[in-house]
Structure formats: C-alpha cells, structure tokens
Amino acid sequence: MKRFALAFLFFLALAGAWQLMVQTGRWSPVLLPSPTDVAAYLWSAAQDGTLFAAIGVTLRRLLVGYAIGLAIGLPLGLLSSSVRFVEDTVGVLALGLQTLPSVCWVPLALIWFGQTEGAMLFVVIMGTVWSVMIATDTGARTIPRVYARAARTMGSEGFHKWTRVILPAALPHLITGMKQGWAFAWRSLMAAEIYVTVLSGFGLGHLLHYGRELNAMDQVIAVMLVIVAIGLLADKALFGPWEHFLHRRWGINAREA
C-alpha cells in the first residue's frame, strides 16, 4: 500500500511539474498542451466512443497476430533445437530476420496485401515469430540433460517427453521469449498503424497519426499515454500470473532474471 501511494505521488508530482511548465507560458499550447487539455481530450474521446473503438480494433489485431506468431514460433523453436537441418536453415533465417526492425516489413506487407487487415496481421506476426522461436530454441537447449534422462528411465518418451518434460522445463525461457515477442508485436503494430491507413478498422496508431495531421497535440499525447497504459496492463495481465508461478515453483524472480 505504501509502495502504491509512493508511485501515485510520483505521477502526481510529474503531472504537477508539467502543469507548472505550461503555466510559465514559455511554450505555445499548440506544442505543449496542459495535462488538463489532455485529460479533456481523453474524456471526450471516451464519451463519443472513438477511444474504445480504437483500443478494440488495435487489441484485436494484436492478440490475433500474437497468437498466430506464438503458434508458429513455439513449434519452430522446438524443432530447431532438436533437428540439425532446421537449425541450419530456418534457425539462421530467424536470427537474420530478428535483427530486422519490424517496420521494415510494412512496405512489403502493403504491396502484398494492400491496405487490409492482412497487412496489419502480417507485420505483427513477423514481429513476433522470430523472437519467440529463438527464445524457445535457447530455452529447449539449456534444459539440463538430466531431466530428459530421468524422464526416459521412468518410461517417458516422444510426445509425452516433449509436452511433460521439455516444454515445462523450458518454461522460464518461453516466458521470456513470449514477453519479448509481445513487446515486438506491440511495436510493430503501432508502426504499421501509423504508416498505413486501413479502411477496415481505425486503431490507436491511426488516432495518433490523425492527431499529428490535425496538429492536435492533446490528442497525440493522450493516445501515447493510452498506448503506454495498455502496454503496462498487458504485461501484468498476460505475464503476471506466469511469473508468479515461476517464482513460486522455481524460486526464480523473473523480474531479475
């Protein structure tokens, strides 16, 4: 409770300092809107529904793309950790593509898919797959061999061994990879939404983009705040329970790892 109060005071002080800077009048309100302007924009956007509609569109894209990315990345990572051929081919490809900033996929996605949902999903998936795959690969490789040996002498082979031993043993790495994949997916989606106007849905990135077009700085800052808040909440909601589990079972503090 004390920590919460401290954090609350910190952000209150931050907003206070901001308000004071605005009140000195040194900067034009067009460049630096006051916190109350930003709050007013958020209120009105929430009232007329644009904000929640945009959040809905963005989250749907993000979750669908991320889920597909995981569904491809996890098995690929397991494969490349155990099959030399996959390691030498797809593994190398993944290493290369992981270094490619996901915004770089946007032009390609536009030409291939046009201004559609497909382009959005493609960019998110490309942002997710490779980092998830590499983390899974690393995770599966660093499992102490004795786990698999012990499991085999107890009669666990094949599918049973993979699902009951290798996957859970790799869990700490998987979570790290999934978190990283999530961060990449989130970044690539924002990049894609800012670059590309899609008629099928108006997301947070678009809202941000039009804020700039209209020189509405209050909108720009408000949407940025919303994006940060969603990132924080998703981290807590999606990964909090897993990290709690890791901490309890393994004794690992995932935040320090």
Binding site: P144, V146, Y147, R149, A150, A151, R152, T153, M154, G155, S156, H160, R164, V165, P168, A169, L171, R248, R249, W250, G251
Partner: protein, 269 residues
C-alpha cells in the same frame, strides 16, 4: 519356495535379475577413440544390492547408463529379467546425483510423474502410493512443497521416493549422495538400508566413496580405469543395519581402498 518347474523336479536356482554379458564401449571423437569399458561381465541376483566403485574415468557411470539403456554398448549385451535391454524403460529406474527432480512439479508431483506412467493403476491408487513413499522417506509433510524449498538431503529423499514408487525391477543409483554433506549422507545411509530391508529391491549403486559402498552393498565390485575393467568383487559379510563409522566396516574399507590403489596407474609424462 519349492517352485519345482525343473524337469527333474528339483528346485531351480533363481536366475540372476540382471546380467551384463561381455559389454565393451568406446567413445569415438574425430581425433581419438577412448576405450571406456572392456569386456564387463556381471550377474546381479534378485534383491541384491551391489556397489560399483572405482576412480574417476573407470567407466562406472557409463556402465550404469548402458544397464539403464540410456547408452548403447558397442559389444556385448545386458539382459534384465531375461529380456534384452534395448532402451530406457521404467523397469530400470535411475536415481541421479542431484537436481534431476523436476522444478515445475511439487515433491508429490515428482513422485506421481513415474507413477502416472505405470499402466493399470487408478488415480486414487497412484496418489495413495505416492503418499506412502513420501511417508517412507519421512517427507509426507512436504508433499506439496516446491523443490527449491527443500534442502539437498530432502531433495535426494524425494528422488529416492520417486525412483521406488513405480516399483522398478532394478534401481540404478548414480552417485546419489555425493553432493550431500557428511551428516545428511549418514542419515540417508540409514534410511536406504531400512527401506532396502523392507522392499528387497535389486540395486546397482555407483560411487567413488568406498565406505559408502561397504556400508550399503551386499557386494562391492572394484573397477579400474583405462579401459574400465572389473578387477575384484568383495562380498560384504556384515550384519545390517550397518553403521558407516563402525570398526568392522572400516576394515573392509581399508582392504578395498588398498586394492583400489594398486590399480591406479601413476600418470606418466
């Protein structure tokens, strides 16, 4: 005990539980070939506790791996209960040196892991069995503890329970106590002996600790390195339970240790 199946109507001697027949093993790397085991022959009776001792590099752990089916022999074969060993399986469980417990499961979950792979048991039977074995090693109260919360000695107790619970025909132990402190180890000597008196398992234990071997084994087999060979076999005629600090035990240890020293070739430059 007169199960007179023999054609002459005479009681047949019980066949050995485990036979290692002419096993040899080489480890080949692109540069060299290391002869790890040379013509190992060994017969282990039903309910017998044998200990393999030898200096590091004598191939004792490799031999255990071959018996377990985790490593293939280059020559010779292993039979357990008259069946050729071709791969690992739950009838020959291995208890490892340390941290082979699964950290994503509780102590109870670890014991259940092997039990779930035993066919023909109901859920309730498995759970009752798991608890019974945890009680046997004195850890019933810690059934739902996480592995990282247990001390080294407690972990090896859980590992012992996990290896015994599926009732394997043969239990293989690969230096199971060498990572523990002396006091904890002595306590486990007592526990293992007590449980062995009860359960009469066929056990093969690998160790570099001669005292441990004398304390636990019905027979101590001495291996020498380069290549790994069986040199001598010492039957231990001491009443159980044995105290690892007793004088008689020390005498055996003394004899085996001096024999062991004779087989260690001083390193030549």
């Amino acid at each position: 005990m007169l199960d007179s199946i023999g054609s002459q109507g005479l009681p047949q001697p019980r066949p050995p539980k485990l036979i290692v027949d002419g096993v040899s093993k080489w480890f080949r790397t692109p540069r060299a070939s290391v002869h790890a085991l040379d013509d190992i022959n060994l017969a282990v009776g039903d309910g017998e506790f044998i200990c393999l001792v030898g200096p590091s590099g004598c191939g004792k752990s490799t031999l255990l791996d071959i018996i377990a089916g985790l490593t293939r022999a280059d020559a010779g074969r292993v039979t357990a209960d008259g069946q050729l060993v071709e791969g690992p399986g739950r009838h020959r469980l291995v208890m490892f040196q340390e941290s082979a417990l699964f950290p994503w499961l509780t102590a109870f979950g670890n014991v259940m892991f092997g039990l779930k792979l035993v066919p023909g048991l109901s859920r309730a039977e498995r759970q009752a069995t798991a608890l019974r074995y945890l009680r046997m090693v004195g850890l019933e109260r810690f059934a739902h503890a996480n592995i990282h919360e247990l001390s080294g000695g407690m972990r090896q107790r859980v590992a012992f329970a996990r290896s015994l619970a599926p009732d394997p025909h043969v239990l293989l132990m690969d230096e199971p106590l060498s990572a523990l402190d002396a006091l904890t180890r002595e306590q486990l000597y007592a526990d293992i002996q007590r449980i062995q008196q009860d359960r009469r398992k066929t056990i093969v234990l690998v160790t570099h600790n001669v005292r441990e071997a004398v304390c636990l084994g019905d027979r101590v087999i001495l291996l020498s390195p380069g290549p790994g060979r069986i040199r001598e076999s010492f039957p231990i005629h001491l009443p159980r339970p044995r105290d690892v600090n007793s004088i008689q035990l020390a005498e055996y240890t003394e004899r085996i240790t001096s024999a062991l020293k004779g087989y260690i070739v001083p390193e030549t430059v």
